[in-house]
Symmetry: D2
Subunit: 134 residues, 4 copies
């Protein structure tokens, strides 16, 4: 298992007229969470793309339990709980202090950016992730 | 059952550097789809809010099957397939011509905007929706 | 001179907790306005990019006179008032019915997408635009 | 004069298919910059709004000199250079390391959120700002 937590502050731009974060904007918080957990494993998403490999999202499931509001400091805890194969499933919990605001998961797959076809997980990514799962 | 289809054209702003629509931006397309299906039933989301009632999203599930690209004309087909109670579940299919790009569902609930507490479905909304289900 | 008007409806996602369209989101409306005026001249922005040429924004000036709100139908009137050289300046007025909401201008330049260097206006674009200015 | 610098990392969501930050998204960076400079003066934007006062943007001028790309760490340096009256003008410079990417200014005014009418600068805000200008 590998897990990482990041802290964010809600931007004004991210709210909507209900006074809360617009539901679609949580996708950005999840993105930041999974980038952080990959970085913890030594995998830079930026470098992955520069090497010609994309990691598009295949599906997203998200439960909104409590709403985040402007200027809240929130924490995104992201987990990969089993060694990924050609797909990676990320689990997320977003908190404001001790309150759980959001639970989510996303599955992503490796894709060749030139051909837009699915790829096996690159060896160097596998080698970075393996030590966290055994 | 009630169903409505809308057409949209993908904005440049909605793409990301992968060259496709950013996965979080589909939430906006779903929003436009459900507003349209509600309008078909005679329920204006704008008026609902002006009457003091919000309709926040409780959960979203979304599968990304094919990617939409800049300037694509896409169709969002939105369905409510059973008479809602205090929650409404919307089902969505997003197409580009005959290709299915996205399948999704969201559940929303009625909320008193002042107290932020869940509400029963307003009578006038129920009366608008009922004729579509029997 | 070449001029085109488009109609848009304000999305919920575009509002912020002040209850109006977030000021940064007007940039998207301007984008849609200039794409439309280019299309009127027979220049598809999509095709321009596919031919390897980008059209990045060099500067933007925008005055917010009145605020747009959720579900408003707004009109973006976009004008190119002198024959562009290697840069194109677009002027915009955004209206809700007869009320002027926003006045803006942006200057864009042609860029080679591979080298990221400025380019002269492509001949085919020049030929499309010329008939509107004399 | 009062000045504050913040650091940000460019999100994937903020890029567009040109491979750079979408021009409209810089407005969010400016927002974060001015919130930070106000906070340095002891003025919380969140509290300002809770007290019934909004601070909408009246105009924005922005020059894009170099493009920011995904995962760049950028710095937003925000300055108020003369004591504000009923309007506040913020000046911004956005850097990536030593490269100047963006220069911008925005003017905002105080507004009563209930009546949507312009307001004089609240006394407590004036008192917080005054020590920085003399």
């Amino acid at each position: 298992m590998i897990q990482e937590e990041i802290k964010l502050r809600v931007r004004y731009a991210e709210t909507d007229q209900m006074g809360f974060v617009y539901y679609g904007n949580y996708a950005q918080y999840l993105e930041l969470g999974r980038v952080a957990v990959m970085k913890k494993a030594g995998v830079s998403y930026r470098e992955l793309e520069l090497s010609g490999i994309g990691l598009p999202v295949k599906d997203m499931n998200i439960q909104f339990l409590r709403a985040a509001t402007y200027d809240d400091e929130i924490r995104v805890m992201t987990t990969i709980d089993t060694m990924p194969t050609n797909r990676i499933t990320f689990y997320y919990k977003i908190y404001r202090e001790l309150d759980l605001l959001v639970e989510a998961s996303t599955t992503l797959f490796f894709m060749d950016k030139a051909s837009l076809r699915p790829l096996r997980m690159p060896n160097w990514v596998e080698n970075q992730l393996k030590p966290f799962f055994n």
